[in-house]
């Protein structure tokens, strides 16, 4: 593999030449200056974000520009920095322990409360709102309704997103495998058995659909 920055060994020689065993802050800066003289210059200072910043994110396929601070989590951005707010993604624990804020980042499951909004530049963010509407639900959403997998519904958006991803990663997964995929989501009302039924219902529907698809010879 290659490194585009100077090899670590080069930096080490630099430090040794300076003759300092310790690494004082001043020495650090000087090392930078010296390093500049032998390596390719990085002319600009390290890009830094501070204070209130404007970021452009791709959320559910649409470009949105919003004002956030570097510390603003994606969850807080979705729920309070968009107009209109996207409140489908819920705040429950704010610490990556419960799954209520589950979204997809480039198709991968993530907790919106555990990711910074500024870090999502260049990524596709998908929230529950992006997976379907009451009039045009995804098959997972329809299955949740058919199997009564939502009671109070507060955990439901997170589970919908998690189930979508679970079935993408493990389309033919056993129930145990699917449970492992969605184990980062908690439900207090206890709808788990209905969620499991919904997952298996979607699996069966998709298998039938793909069999029919291949029967017709179409793709």
């Amino acid at each position: 593999m290659t490194h585009s920055d100077p090899k670590p060994e080069a930096l080490s020689r630099r430090a040794l030449l300076k003759g300092a065993g310790g690494v004082a802050a001043v020495g650090g800066l000087a090392a930078t200056a010296e390093a500049r003289s032998v390596t390719t210059l990085e002319p600009a200072p390290v890009p830094t974000l501070r204070g209130e910043v404007e970021v452009t994110l791709s959320i559910n396929g649409a470009t949105q520009t919003l004002k956030v601070e570097p510390r603003t989590t994606l969850l807080d951005a979705l729920r309070t920095r968009l107009e209109p707010a996207l409140t489908g993604t819920k705040l429950v624990c704010d610490s990556g322990s419960c799954g209520a804020c589950t979204v997809l980042l480039d198709g991968k499951l993530a907790y919106a409360c555990m990711n910074l909004a500024i870090d999502q530049v260049g990524r596709q963010v998908t929230t529950v709102e992006g997976l379907g509407t009451p009039e045009a639900q995804s098959d997972v959403q329809r299955a949740f309704c058919a199997e009564d997998a939502a009671m109070c519904g507060f955990c439901t958006p997170g589970f919908i997103v998690a189930c979508h991803a679970a079935l993408e990663r493990k389309p033919n997964g056993t129930l145990d495998e699917l449970k492992h995929e969605i184990s980062g989501n908690l439900c207090r009302c206890g709808t788990y058995p209905h969620i499991f039924n919904a997952l298996q219902r979607v699996q069966a529907e998709r298998q039938v659909a793909s069999q029919q698809g291949s029967k017709k010879g179409a793709k």
């Binding site: 920055d5 670590p8 310790g22 690494v23 499951l109 555990m114 910074l116």
Partner: protein, 327 residues
């Protein structure tokens, strides 16, 4: 969280130079996946005014599997990518077993190898924003005479947390090497020497200096015939840190255990290599009697506190089940 600025270094050198020289609660911190760091900030354990984004630094995300089964993992490899990697699974399955056992899919997709190895403890006192214990500059360990259910039974004192990483015990069992780059240059540290007990340091869990970036981990080719596994026992199977864990390797020769590796998790402030358990296994048939003996040896010098004596039984059980699965 408190306000911070975020620096996006474009090179490893820029990243290193943005880091502080000493550990301390307000110095700049690296952020990779952020799955531990953000909790540290939300719990107000550290108050960095600058985060240094490692994700923009190239060449830290590689997974390389040699023909001999040696594995190299860049520090930015996500836990999910590691868990899914067929090549790593064929060469060193314990790495994938550990990765897939960690947290949840949502965390694994963003969390990184480097972040997992360098994460801070989960002790409920340490994580409580109002508590000032030894590790936060205070003068006591509240777990020692307080609620000690999750506290260390080995290697504890003055502080009694257990190291929460699942990759760490496996790294020790597989004799991995951690590669660091700091202002003073590059160095390689054996996994077995990376973590420190609390009589060595309280404000950190490893020898990594504040200005050093863990860039990659290299795991040597396993000895021929060595079978390894990671058995993580969680209080809540769905989603939890280890209540106790065992990274285990055995090589059988002529019907007897010729070589054994035993490293325990969830029992000490660092991943706990147990030469006692290994000695109890070597030379024995791969059978229940040896597995029981290994467990007994592993906990022989354990010092339980008021509420964590059950870990002595649990470690024996977890080690037994790990060995059983390799039979």
């Amino acid at each position: 969280m408190r306000s911070f600025e975020v620096k996006s270094p474009r090179t490893l050198r820029e990243a290193v130079l943005a880091l502080p020289d000493d550990h301390g609660p307000t110095g700049a911190r690296l952020i990779a996946g952020g799955q531990d760091l953000l909790t540290v900030l939300k719990d107000d354990i550290e108050q960095p005014s600058t985060l240094v984004r490692l994700r923009g630094v190239p060449d830290l995300g590689q997974i390389v599997v040699g023909k001999d089964g040696a594995v190299e993992l860049g520090a930015l490899v996500t836990l999910q990518d590691l868990a899914d990697h067929i090549g790593v699974f064929e060469a060193q399955p314990a790495l994938c077993e550990a990765a897939t056992s960690i947290a949840s899919a949502q965390i694994r997709s963003q969390a990184t190898v480097g972040g997992n190895l360098n994460q801070r403890p989960r002790c409920p006192y340490y994580r409580h924003p109002a508590v000032v214990c030894f590790k936060k500059g205070g003068n006591t360990c509240l777990a020692e005479f307080g609620f000690s259910k999750y506290a260390a039974i080995l290697g504890g004192g003055p502080s009694y947390f257990v190291h929460p990483s699942d990759l760490a015990p496996v790294m020790l069992a597989l004799d991995a090497t951690f590669h660091l780059v700091g202002k003073g240059g590059a160095r390689a540290v054996k996994a077995r020497e990376y973590y420190v007990l609390t009589d060595v340091a309280l404000d950190t869990e490893s020898v990594r200096r504040a200005d050093e970036v863990l860039t990659k981990v290299t795991i040597p080719a396993p000895p021929r015939g060595m079978r390894t596994t990671y058995n993580k026992f969680k209080e809540r199977a769905s989603f939890d840190f280890a209540l106790a864990a065992a990274a285990v390797g055995v090589r059988i020769d002529g019907g007897k255990i010729a070589e054994a590796r035993v490293v325990l998790g969830g029992v000490a402030p660092k991943p706990w290599h147990s030469p006692e358990a290994e000695a109890a296994l070597v030379g024995q048939p791969m059978a229940a009697e040896a597995w029981r003996a290994a467990g007994a040896a592993a906990v022989k010098d354990a010092s339980p506190l008021e509420h964590n004596g059950y870990k002595i039984h649990l470690v024996k059980g977890v080690l037994y089940r790990a060995l059983e699965s390799l039979a």
